[in-house]
Amino acid sequence: MLRLPAIRILLSCAATGICTGMAYAADAASGPVEDGQWTMPAKSYAATRYSGLAQINAQNARSLHPLWSFSTGVLAGHEGQPLVVGETMYVVTPWPNVLYAFDLRKEGHPLRWKYRPDVSSNALGVACCDAVNRGAFYADGRIVYNLLDGHTVAVDARSGRELWKTTIADMSNGETVTMAPFVVGDHVIVGASGGEFGIYGWLKALDLKTGKIVWTGHNMGPDKDMLAAADTFKPPYDGGVDVGAKSWAGDTWKSGGAPVWGWISYDPELDLIYYGTGNAAPYDPEARVGDNKWSASVLARRPGTGELVWAYQFTPHDNWDYDATGAMVLVDLTIAGKPVKALVHFDKNGFAYTLDRATGKVLVAAQFASVNWAKSVDLASGRPVIDPARQTGVSKGKVSGVCPSLEGAVSPASPPAYSPRTHLFYTSTNNLCMDYAAAHASHLRATPYIGVDFAYHPGPGGNLGAFIAWDATSGRRVWEDKESYPSWSGALVTAGDVAFYGTLDGWFKAVDARSGQLLSKFKVGSGVVGNPIAYRGPDGKEYVAVYAGIGGDWALLAGDTRSDDPTDVREPAEFMKDIARHTSQGGIVWIFGL
């Protein structure tokens, strides 16, 4: 019965050649009625990465097989995900940020067009870790996405013609852009990377029609820079006038990082957008005494004005590069018998948080991986109970055995999925610990502002990663599929009760969402750091698409998996000596079906 309206929407897309936009999120938890498309990075405003399609299910997923593939011609890490709008699939590559539009109606899916923006190669030296791009957003007939060198572009979804291009970030100040934009109403919301360059982190809104910048809200600094007003900014725990500046020694907030390179979600009822901020800069915490608000935090703003409504800091005075840029997933849960409008977040710091998304108060905080920097999170104060022996700083020298590593218990680039059918979250995890020796760093414009010497070690158990199912009401892991390598892909779950993810050694896997049992796997040619999607093709059948293309963080991968530069030949990483035996670089779009 649910099919009929979905098919009608698809037909209207076919008739006009393009869809005019998707239905407003009727239910923040499950998103709009399933239309078979994938028009925004996380499928819905609620960021659940849940598809209501059920043709592929736990019974038949064993016969999943690859049907189509396409080399993007680019070798950097292929994070992010394709979009499917009507009968077209859109793919954004890492730098040089080519946008491909594939015609799904035709055999072999030939290109309708490709768009090749002029992106500065200098950006390759300002991006901290790899030249990644986390995807595009479809709205009002436009494909909107960000270029690594600090621009946002809007491209006509039908013709591929550039509609506008706006400079949003300043590379000469260490800003690049890797995140996917997020569109709410007439506003395109964007942020910049640069936590390793000491930027003054911000979020901006652009006008969807013209590209003009409408508002800019900083993630720290005085209230006026943060768009925080005393009567409307109500953090659930600690606040006060200009706390975004006063919680930093001197004027260190001006180069304190707190970038925005992850994901944004939106609750239409509360009219709030939610996003996480990255690490505080530099990596030596003694260079910026104080809580360093609001780095490593979640912020809730009004999309229309940018007004800051609440903020909560997961890792006060970040000592370990624990960015909080991972997804903020909006779901309606029942906790202790009471319905809760929740926000669920898997943090780099190893805790999974369930917050009240109206107020920011912490309801549940539990370890989803090996953690020793903090014992727990005190629900009364919202603060972690820190182990002083794991605190870092130049005066402390090398601090050994901190878990998780600065790669995070999960990479923020690897977003989770939530199924309203199983009431479970699905996420990749990393099982790495580290030695961390902070060092002095000098702030020199557009050069890295880091200051750390670090080494990774396998965490307890020896497996370097896993894919897990998580109950966010109780803070409990339900099942775990161990992986030999750090698990760096996003998750997808469908109404067929199948969860999908990829591995760093290049397997794309389908597992039973209820038990974690492996249903099918296929070697996709390169390690997977992208996020799978599900969609209904023009033939009415369900398909699953994902990128292969290892990369995203050359500190993690040691560069041993590269073959593209004969003058850059690196030693294998001590903690992961044989990853290059199983994969090398590549950039491939895959489509799977029954």
Partner: protein
């Protein structure tokens, strides 16, 4: 410091750009030199542009170069010890733009495509030579092009 750097720049620019004074019997055509290396891919530095490192092999200078490598945030891209991160490894014995002292000098002083900043302006000639001396002091492995996971 700044003035010194500027002076160094002027001298370098003069070295690179000045043409020899017209000699008696000067020709409108360039001298015909049958020297095939001049057309080699990658380019050949003009003979007048060859630089030499005043600190070559000086261990004390290499040590202060190591400090400079951290202070100028070189390690933020090339990693501690130059082992490579988002920027290429400087410790593998292989060089995108050449590994001779003068070539490494040019890479640091003038920058390179794809994001290597030009540090000549802030470091000056001597600062750049100090870094070159450090980088050239890194223990270079013998070139082993094969990586094998099989037991011999």
């Amino acid at each position: 410091m700044k003035r010194f750097a500027l002076l160094a720049w002027v001298i370098l620019a003069a070295c690179a750009r000045s043409a020899p004074p017209p000699a008696p019997g000067a020709s409108s055509a360039p001298p015909a030199v049958a020297y095939e290396a001049h057309v080699a891919a990658g380019g050949i530095a003009p003979a007048g542009g060859v630089l030499s490192n005043p600190h070559a092999g000086d261990a004390a200078v290499a040590k202060s170069g190591a400090q400079l490598f951290a202070a100028m945030n070189c390690d933020g891209c090339h990693n501690v010890g130059g082992s490579g991160w988002v920027g290429p490894s400087l410790a593998d014995g292989r060089w995108r733009y050449g590994g001779a002292d003068a070539e490494v000098f040019s890479s640091i002083y003038f920058g390179r495509p794809k994001g290597m900043p030009a540090f000549g302006g802030v470091l000056g000639t001597d600062g750049v030579w100090t870094l070159v001396t450090y980088i050239r002091s890194l223990p270079m492995p013998s070139d082993v092009p094969t990586e094998s996971w099989e037991q011999p």
